[in-house]
């Protein structure tokens, strides 16, 4: 067990980070902190993917010198996934931030629960 953990420390770190991000997204009251949690979570996934795709001693999957042998490069697909994921994450973060700004403008607080309570009091 211990061996496995040591051998795959990258994955372990990724999982820990994922957990941290997830908990933050779930439990933080402050919306900005939630968004940070979201980003930590996403980054953890990318770390995991990169770790999985990396092969010791191989090059990044960019063809240089016309070398087409697969043994030269690391697995390109995880890298592609990471890139795609980053795009998604960015857009989601942007949307979240814009929502946060709206709410802050309207209610002058970043605490989502407080906003909810205030809305309930308004009764609409």
């Amino acid at each position: 067990m211990g061996n496995h953990v040591l051998a795959n420390y990258g994955e372990v770190v990724a999982m820990l980070l994922f957990g941290i991000g997830f908990t933050n997204l779930l439990l933080q009251k402050n919306m900005i902190k939630k968004i940070i949690g979201l980003n930590i979570m996403d980054t953890a996934v990318y770390l995991f993917l990169a770790e999985k795709g990396y092969i010791e001693g191989h090059l990044a999957p960019i063809i240089v010198n016309g070398d087409l042998s697969p043994d030269t490069y690391i697995n390109p697909i995880p890298s592609g996934l990471v890139l795609t994921g980053i795009v998604v994450s960015v857009s989601v973060t942007a949307l979240m931030l814009s929502l946060t700004i709206r709410l802050y403008r309207r209610y002058h607080t970043l605490d989502l629960d407080e906003i909810t309570i205030r809305l309930k009091k308004e009764g609409r």
């Binding site: 795609t84 979240m96 309207r106 906003i115 909810t116 609409r124």
Partner: protein, 496 residues
Amino acid sequence: MNAILNFPCFSILLAMFAAIISSVLKGKGARILNTCVVSIVALMSLAALIFTVRTGECYVYVMGHFPAPLGNELRFGALEAGTALFFAVIMLLSLNGGRRKIKLEIAENKEHLYYVMVNLLLSSLLALVYTNDLFTAYVFVEINTISACGLIMITEHGRCIEAAMRYMIMSLLGSGLFLIGICILYDLTGHLLMSDIHASVEAIVAAGTYSVPLLVTIALMVVGLAIKSALFPFHSWLPDAYGYSTVSSAAMLSSLVSKGYIFLLIKLIYRVIGFPIFTESRVIDVLFIFGIVGMIMGSLSAIKENDIRRMISYSSVAQIGYIYMGFGLGTLAGMAASIFHILSHAATKSLLFVSAVGLTDVSGNHKDFERLTGAAYRNKAAGVAFTVGALSMVGIPAFSGFVSKLLFAQAALDQHGKMLPALIVLAVSSVLNVIYFMKTVIRIYTPVQTGYPSIKMRENKLFVMTLLCFIALNLLLGMCSEPITEWIVQGLHVFA
């Protein structure tokens, strides 16, 4: 015939391009474009459906030039085509039914943006239905989330924004879990295409290795999708989001968005993990329990609710519980029943939302029951439609809800361990449904003297026509269920 094989891909692309074009159009243009696009998608899906039902096969469409292990694929059989058709039809009807409210509630300079979101939603839904690639699925899940969020917050109502925020948070939690699940699965199998993953998973199971990671993966992905489709304990965002957004959004969210995720889940179960492996895992029992708890709790919350829209929303929670209970039964019949219920609930719930708005319109836009008293006399079409929807929810024969209840019950009989709880919860939940839906129906048919004006049917033709279509759809599902269930079973057979 080859042209038809392109239709799924075309429809996704069409919707996406329409979204892009809409962003530069005025409100009216965007509206017309959207209507055309949805109709065309519906027609294309219909063609695909007829084609696939006739051939009874499943087709793989390769995107770009890379073949199987590397490239991206679409795959469609009867089930996918039919679902796509159904989604398009429901979307068209929901939009038409809420057209007036969209104009009223959304600022004029933002109307086109609404249609951008709708188009995006359509394209992501279609992609979820058709794709054969897990990572693509993830990307479209996120697109779906973003567009759904846009649909919720477009009215700029304070509660909508708050609801959108909550929705986003829950969704992101869900998609985060889903994503990490994909990654681990990829790590285990080395594939992203569903069919290939399936082969590897079978090999892994046959070898008896990696059983824990596999279980974790299944759990992560299922829980992720369950959160996104508002299964019971994860439903906190739902009532606000459905209750305060504009009606078309609410109808689409409840009948399409969550159903899209559920469809993806079915895909996951059948095509990625494999049905036998899935049924052997414990996850299925968890789903079953959450399903039946959701059935009861959703209805109980609905009974307490004093706001018609929120009540319908809570009813959605209960209905999603039904669907998950069907999954949880772990039989083909249960799965078929769930799929039928996806259709029937989508048709009924959007009908309810649309007609509820018709009722609140003639009650000074108030949604509490006190003010809704007698609303059915002021807006007759909405009253009738709401009654039909309610009866269907309650499970009165001749309406679609009855058939799904029948299918669920029959499916439950094959599963000994789960038979009695499933049946009894089914009955209890029907009783609860009766309580809140029939209470509402009686309320809206109780005449009182109010100052609210009534609406004549002539003044609102589009609305009435939409409701008629909804009712017809409901009766179609209820009366002619035989071909539909046959189609579902046939589709399930070629699905994997």
